[in-house]
Each structure stands twice: as C-alpha cells, then as structure tokens.
C-alpha cells in the first residue's frame, strides 16, 4: 500500500466521517466544528492532488473564516441541543433519504462506468512543481478568466454592503416590535 493511496484513504475516511457528523449530530456547535474538520480534510485532499495554493486558500477561507463565522453565530444564538433536529414525517423523510440514495447510486454508477474504462491509462500524472502550478493558476486567473474575476470582485463588494445593511436593520425582517 503506497504512501499516497494510504494518505487518500485516511483523508477520505476523516472527511466523510466528519461530514457525517456534521449532518447527524444534534448540537449545532459540534456540527460546526465537524464542518471545520471536514474543511481541513478537504484541503489536505487538495494537497494530495498537488493544489497547494488552493489547499491554503481552502483553509483560510473555509476553515478560517466561514466556519468561524458559523461558530460565532451559533455561540451568539446560544443554541443548545435541539429536540427536533430532523424534519418530522416518516414518509417525507423516507422519500428524502430514498432520493439521496438514488442520487448517490446514480452518481457513483456514472463515475465508475465512465472512468473505469480508462482508469488504467489516466493515472495521476507527476505533480507539477507547486511554484509553477501557482504561476500557471494566477496567469490563467488574470488573463483568461479576468472577467469572471472582476465580476466576482463586484459581487463581493455588493454582498459586503448588503450584509452590513442586513445586520444594521433593527429586529431583522420586521422592524417594528
């Protein structure tokens, strides 16, 4: 069992386990922490895929900012164990689970069916030197995808303003008590 395959299985296990925790555990705080764990796992997976920069960004953005936001909000709300964490109704629940299962089956089936045909041929090529990889990435980002980049910048600006406005609004959606 070679190094990288071991790494992969290990990380996959951690990621999926923490993801399951996110979904199943009833205390939102814990699920937030599990989410952070998942993010770390995902970034590690990025590392195994040779996307070092993305791994770092993943940590900074998701683990460092987004999930921290979640945690802070949860702590502000001071939510303890919630009694009805999952939506009521056996029928709808079963339907939902069945749908999810069907989707999973379809996706995995599709992947296996499609990729296994050339799995032998397309095994992982040698990882590019990370510096070169990053140069390539940034070059593509600022030449080929510069428009999307700008648009995203504008989007972020708008969202910053909107979020500030939302947070400023007294009493949320219904201003008058």
């Amino acid at each position: 069992m070679s190094m990288d395959s071991f790494l992969f299985w290990f990380l996959a296990f951690i990621t999926i386990a923490s993801a399951v925790t996110v979904v199943t555990i009833t205390n939102p705080i814990y699920s937030a922490l599990a989410l952070a764990m998942t993010m770390v796992g995902v970034s590690a997976i990025f590392v195994t895929l040779g996307a070092y920069f993305l791994a770092g960004v993943q940590l900074i953005v998701y683990a460092g900012a987004v999930t921290v936001l979640f945690v802070m909000v949860l702590m502000l709300f001071d939510l303890k164990h919630e009694l009805s964490a999952f939506s009521r109704g056996q029928i709808s629940g079963t339907i939902k689970v069945a749908t999810a299962a069907a989707l999973a089956g379809l996706l995995i089936g599709a992947i296996v069916w499609t990729v296994s045909g050339f799995e032998r041929v397309v095994s992982k090529p040698a990882a590019p030197d990370s510096a070169d990889g990053m140069r390539e990435l940034s070059h593509a980002l600022f030449t080929k995808y510069v428009f999307g980049f700008e648009v995203l910048g504008i989007l972020l600006l708008i969202i910053a303003v909107g979020v500030v406005a939302l947070a400023r609004a007294k009493g949320g959606t219904h201003a008058q008590r």
Partner: protein
C-alpha cells in the same frame, strides 16, 4: 455512455505523459488494485455531495442547512481539482477559486439573514420560517 470514456481516453492517449505510462502498463496494472485514480476522488466527492444534500433536506436548523450547502460546494470543489489534476488543466482550479468566493459570499449573506430573523423571532428552525410565506 461509451462515447464519453472513449473521448477522454483518446485525449488521455494523446498526452505524452500518458503515452509513457501505457508502455509500463503492467506496472500500473499491479498498483491499480490499490492505486488511487480519478474515480476515487470523484466517488469521494459524490459521497460528500449526497451527505450535504441529506443535510439540506433533513436538518431543521437553518444554520446547519447552510453548513450542509458548504459541504456540497466542497464536494464539487474536490471533483474540480481532481479533474484539473488528472487532465493537467488549470481551469478546474480556477473554478474552485470562484466557487470558494461564491460560497463565502453565500455563507455571509445567509448568516446575516439568519441573524436578522433570529433577532426578531429567537428561532432558527426552518419549519418556523414557513410563517414568512408570502
């Protein structure tokens, strides 16, 4: 769908670094039992995605639903990166970049809305928001 894999295989064959690997096919065949390939990553991302979907469908806590959405996005990111790696195209990573931005924005807005609603109703249970139905 035979057409897909033939095409992918064709362009895989077209690439030099895969040519070399075909020559040493038997070696790969040995390690293929344990070797980690594209499909592994894709399946991992599929599982993550479905988990996130279950969370969105089943959980009542709006914040947890947001988290599950983040899960789904991450699953997508994984498959993007995997593809970009296994086809030596940087574009996938760019897409991940954008997805991350969007995800951060979405989380920020969602949480802001939740805070606003919580300030009013002291409640983040999704069932409760049906009262907001127009």
């Amino acid at each position: 769908m035979p057409n897909v894999d033939t095409s992918l295989a064709a362009e895989a064959l077209a690439r030099p670094e895969t040519q070399t690997q075909i020559e040493s096919l038997d070696l790969i065949a040995h390690s293929a039992t344990l070797g980690v390939g594209l499909s592994h990553y894709l399946i991992l991302s599929a599982i993550l995605f479905v988990l996130g979907m279950i969370g969105v469908l089943m959980r009542r806590n709006a914040i947890v639903m947001l988290m599950s959405i983040e899960l789904m996005l991450n699953a997508v990111n994984i498959s993007f990166v995997a593809f970009s790696r296994f086809q030596n195209l940087i574009d996938g990573q760019i897409m991940v970049f954008f997805v991350m931005t969007i995800a951060a924005a979405e989380a920020a807005v969602g949480l802001a809305i939740l805070v606003a609603i919580f300030k009013r109703f002291r409640e983040v249970n999704i069932r409760f928001f049906e009262h907001l139905r127009g």
